[in-house]
């Protein structure tokens, strides 16, 4: 026998047939089915293999708490693993695979693990693989060797390798009241809040609203519950102040009532509508939150409780009533509370035979007896299920008398059933409350953790608060007709027969944690709930222990001889259930990343520039001319600069206007050198330190007026320097009258460099002279180029006679074109970052590769810039012992003696040995120097200057580059600076 579709009943659309495939087998279901209900309707009992022991497992629940029936959904080449079948709405063409089985679901070689059962107890892998010496493999090396095979054998589904092609989006929602859950309590809360005119969001994780009312037999105000729900939702949908969010799981509760929610917009469709995302992530900021998240039924732990065909009683009833599916033909109920009796009747009404109701209690209420009679079930009070049998599906259960929390010997009775519906009581879904509240409180009568007192603005309603009936949830306004149920369970969490080996009793089905694992953890001293969880992995699977948490704690409490209230529970952390990474990232990836382009960007591209991403900026790396290699291109460009003239786009440099009566004083404090003595229309190179004396950034600052400076920073540090200046003005020197403004985007900049640079400017600059008198080294003039106002400063990064020409960003291309035209007679060459780097390495100028947050000014031989006349940021600490030690790594030049390229990050060693070791420093910048005709580099090496002239070796095991080098001064080229002053 197997589960099947009932002849009638359920809320599915029997007229609509949907095709789907499971492990390649074609099947059909109906609109309104979940994958789980459709699989049951097709007689499928085994839907997966368990995590560790590879035991056959069937559908266990009907909701998000599902531990067993996890599948991989396949859409084209995309695979999404570990989705509960209970959460997948059936659509035509749905394709899924079962998981963790090899070679197939019905025959799995890993199931041999089950025979070696006791070997795989908690801590097995650590005890076995992490310690011993096995042959040549010592300690953890043995683990590293075995890990690959273990990880393959144990596990869940396999993710795909294809990039995710689905669209995801983010939404920010603001409301007065967010209601989480749309069962009776949630619906009432939404109705009441909506009536006051408040903006209300109603979030329901399932496809339809109503919670248990959709499948319970109750009537409300004379209407069947499901019809009352439909009417209420229809009414709410017409209200402009109500937003209904179906398929939306609120998964995290954050500070100031900010909640994260995931809306599964088109997972239930074969094809998303045009423009529709797959998932939408909501950040909801709510004035108040009503938590009406309901409760999870929990199982009773007993030997053999994981066999396919054993499921939660409420789930069995829901399959029968909502989906018209019989989870079995001959069903037994096993319970410690009344709620399962209602389930028995629902199953009987759908057409199943109820063989027996087995209850651990010696006596039950009259209403429960009446329900049992109506269900036609034999009522076996004071009994417990002590073993089960059946290979791929439950065939038979064995029961024994049970009293005082113990199984009584003898009198075993077997009952032939193909389904066992279990109820061990109810646990309110307090996950969100635990994220936004104090420690949950154990309730001795409901034997469950009730919501804690809040630390944020939320209230609870319905089953979430422990009031499990619909009448309690709906309040006095509505007449509810439902069976009278005593939800308080007997204090029985585990059936533990002694003296008989009857099989494993699973607590956490998904992670294969058994009751004996918990007792083992207790014996080995892992007794606190936090240790228990980590040692056994109880509750750490994808279901996060939604059904296993309380039974696990109860078993530990019994082992320790303490009440559960003293054992406590672990804190629930977000997410409540799985959140797709795609939805969290949404648009913030790939080509949606913002790009910063200089005004001359298109020109660079048109000239064949290969672009280089520098933070968000794009800068030309080289201008490729007909099949050149990168090295050929930058050598040609750099050579042209030294021989005649070149031009480079420097618009990306950070630019900050520093203005105000105290601007000069401020700059004296932030730079190591003096700026108050700088004349108007002159620029000066400046160095900034951090407070602890480490170099932070460098650049030139131009004095445009008495109280008006233009500071330039490196491209990479523009934002950080701005924040640094703002911090000191706001928090350290609030008395200074200075204003700083980022003007990076206002100016376009071009550096014209080379012996012919002045002639190029002479050919195009108007309204000012540019000769040595009008524009001396570090001088600034204002003029015009092709009618556009420009500001020119004579400064040099390349070591050549050079000028930086700045103009309004809107004139950038215009001025650039004019400079190119003026440079034409001199063969002006545009150059990129590689040539710029080559020129600066030849000169020994530092950049971010050397100012790397670890080097002091002395390490870079910039101590000449440290003023002795005034304090500055870092002055008090720059002379600390550790920063002046002679063995610090300091700036040197490196020449490759084997005429082969060097690379950044390569280490410098004194001797080459068999194994890479003994680093005395590393390479920070490298190039082929056209001026020297050699491969050179800058490096930070211990001792620095003291090593000039020494032989050493480069050792770069990653790129397999070894060879002799000479350590030299970092001033490779024109150390006197005669070229730029000329």
């Amino acid at each position: 026998m197997s589960p099947r579709r009932a002849h009638n009943g359920g809320r599915i659309d029997r007229a609509t047939r949907l095709r789907f495939t499971f492990d390649g087998t074609a099947m059909t279901g109906h609109a309104g089915d979940t994958l789980a209900s459709a699989l049951l309707a097709n007689g499928i009992s085994v839907v997966g293999r368990s995590f560790k022991y590879h035991r056959p497992r069937g559908v266990f629940s009907a909701g998000i708490e599902e531990p067993n029936a996890l599948v991989t959904v396949i859409r084209g080449k995309l695979r999404e693993p570990n989705i509960p079948a209970t959460q997948i709405e059936l659509y035509d063409g749905l394709t899924v695979e079962s998981q963790n089985r090899f070679p197939s679901l019905s025959f799995d070689v890993g199931a041999l693990n089950s025979l070696a059962g006791n070997l795989f107890a908690a801590g097995f892998y650590y005890k076995t693989f992490m310690g011993p010496v096995v042959g040549p493999l010592k300690g953890t090396r043995f683990w590293m060797f075995c890990e690959h095979f273990i990880r393959r054998a144990a596990g869940l589904g396999r993710a795909g390798y294809e990039p995710d092609t689905d669209r995801y989006e983010k939404m920010y929602g603001f409301c007065d009241v967010l209601v989480v859950g749309s069962g009776p309590a949630g619906l009432m809360a939404a109705k009441r809040a909506a009536a006051t005119g408040k903006r209300v969001f109603l979030a329901e994780q399932e496809a339809e609203f109503g919670g248990t009312l959709r499948w319970k037999s109750a009537t409300i105000d004379g209407l069947p519950a499901a019809e009352w729900v439909a009417a209420t939702i229809a009414e709410l949908a017409t209200l402009p102040n109500v937003t209904l969010l179906p398929r939306t799981t609120v998964w995290g509760y954050y500070d100031d009532n900010a909640l994260g929610a995931l809306e599964r917009v088109s997972d239930h469709k074969a094809h998303a509508a045009i423009g529709e995302p797959r998932h939408r992530h909501w950040t909801i900021r709510a004035g108040d939150v009503v938590l009406a998240t309901g409760a999870f039924e929990r199982p009773i732990v007993f030997p053999g409780n994981d066999r396919p065909g054993i499921m939660l009683a409420s789930a069995a009833a829901r399959y029968a009533s909502e989906y018209g599916v019989l989870p079995g033909e001959r069903i037994a109920i096993f319970a410690n509370n009344d709620s399962a009796y209602e389930a028995a009747l629902a199953l009987k009404d759908a057409g199943a035979e109820i063989a027996a109701i087995i209850d651990v209690r010696a006596g039950v209420s009259l209403s429960a007896r009446e329900l049992a009679r109506e269900a036609g079930a034999e009522l076996l009070l004071g009994y417990a299920v002590t073993s089960t049998s059946g290979a791929r599906r439950l065939r038979e259960i064995e029961i024994q008398p049970f009293a005082d929390g113990k199984v009584k010997d003898g009198a075993t009775r077997a009952i032939v059933v193909d389904c066992l519906a279990v109820s061990g009581g109810w646990s309110p879904a307090i996950h969100l409350a635990s994220q936004a509240g104090h420690a949950p409180q154990w309730d001795e009568s409901l034997r469950a953790f009730l919501p804690p007192s809040p630390t944020q603005r939320w209230t609870g309603a319905g089953a979430f608060t422990g009031a499990f009936s619909a009448a309690a949830a709906l309040g006095d306004d509505h007449a509810v007709n439902e069976p009278e149920i005593e939800y308080e369970p007997a204090p029985v969490f585990e059936i533990h027969p002694t003296g008989k080996k009857s099989g494993k009793a699973f607590v956490d089905l998904q992670h294969d944690v058994t009751a004996s694992d918990i007792r083992l953890a207790h014996r080995e001293g892992f007794q606190s709930v936090e240790h228990l969880k980590r040692y056994t992995t109880l509750g750490m699977a994808t279901d996060q222990g939604k059904s296993s948490n309380v039974p696990g704690l109860a078993i530990m409490a019994a082992a320790r001889g303490l009440p559960i209230s003293e054992v406590g529970t672990t804190r629930f952390r977000p997410p409540f259930s799985a959140v797709s990474l795609g939805a969290l990232a949404a648009d913030r990836h790939g080509h949606f990343k913002p790009q910063r382009l200089t005004p001359m960007h298109d020109w660079h591209l048109a000239r064949g520039a290969r672009m280089y991403a520098a933070g968000l900026w794009y800068r030309p790396m080289i201008y490729g001319a007909g099949g050149e290699t990168v090295e050929q291109a930058y050598v040609r460009e750099a050579r042209a600069v030294r021989a005649s003239v070149g031009i480079v786009d420097v618009s990306t440099l950070g630019k900050i206007a520093v203005q105000g009566p105290d601007a000069a004083e401020f700059l004296d404090r932030v730079y190591t050198n003096m700026f108050s003595t700088l004349p108007v229309h002159k620029a000066r190179y400046g160095l900034m330190l951090r407070e602890e004396g480490i170099a932070f950034d460098d650049g030139t600052t131009w004095r445009l007026g008495e109280h008006d400076f233009l500071m330039t920073t490196t491209t990479a540090n523009a934002g950080k320097v701005m924040q640094h200046l703002e911090y000191y003005l706001d928090c350290v020197w609030p008395d200074l009258r200075v204003h700083v403004t980022s003007v990076t985007d206002e100016w376009a900049g071009a550096a014209v460099a080379g012996p012919n640079a002045r002639r190029v400017l002479e050919a195009c600059v108007e309204s000012t002279g540019v000769d040595n008198d009008a524009l001396p080294f570090m001088g600034i003039v204002r003029g015009e180029i092709a009618g556009a106002p420009v500001m020119i400063c004579r400064l040099s990064f390349s070591g050549e006679l050079a000028y930086e020409v700045y103009c309004g960003a809107g004139h950038g291309q215009h001025v650039w074109d004019a400079l190119m035209a003026a440079g034409q007679p001199f063969g002006i060459v545009p150059y990129g970052l590689e040539a710029l780097g080559t020129l600066r390495i030849e000169k020994g100028h530092v950049t971010g590769a050397e100012i790397d947050g670890r080097t002091s000014p002395r390490d870079l031989y910039l101590d000449w810039m440290l003023s002795k006349k005034k304090p500055y940021i870092g002055s008090a600490m720059v002379d600390r012992e550790g920063l002046v030690a002679p063995d610090r790594i300091s700036l040197v030049g490196i020449v490759a003696l084997d005429d082969r390229p060097l690379q950044g990050g390569g280490h410098i060693v004194e001797q080459l040995g068999e194994e890479p070791r003994g680093s005395i420093g590393h390479i920070t910048g490298f190039c082929f120097s056209p001026a020297l005709g050699k491969y050179i580099a800058l490096a930070l090496v211990k001792g620095g200057k003291a090593r000039h002239g020494q032989r050493a070796f480069v050792s770069d095991p990653v790129r397999n580059r070894y060879g002799p080098v000479e350590i030299v001064s970092h001033h490779f080229f024109d150390p006197e600076g005669s070229r730029m002053h000329g």
Partner: protein, 92 residues
């Protein structure tokens, strides 16, 4: 977490940058007291409770704010414009 910027109103945490402990006193710039400088640069008290700290509204008006926040609950007890509150302190 929300911070009520005096200029811009209550804004989400993602608009702000943490700028450090606001209880520190920077030694006099001319001071050579290495232990005082060391304490200023490196020593922090890991307060459990109300903590005065700087936050910059970097995604908004860019003002630095002097915020008192409980490190236990993330409750914001007070927000002031840093420049004004530092000037008031200097005047004392």
């Amino acid at each position: 977490m929300l911070i009520a910027c005096p200029y811009c109103g209550p804004r989400d945490l993602s608009e702000f940058t943490y700028q450090g402990d606001a209880n520190r006193t920077r030694p006099h710039p001319m001071s050579n007291d290495q232990s005082a400088w060391n304490a200023y640069v490196y020593d922090r008290v890991n307060t459990a409770g109300d903590h005065r700290e700087f936050w910059q509204h970097s995604g908004g008006c860019r003002a630095h704010l002097a915020v008192v926040r409980s490190t236990l609950t993330h409750e914001i007890k007070s927000v002031a414009i840093a420049r004004e509150s530092m000037n008031r302190e200097a005047a004392k």
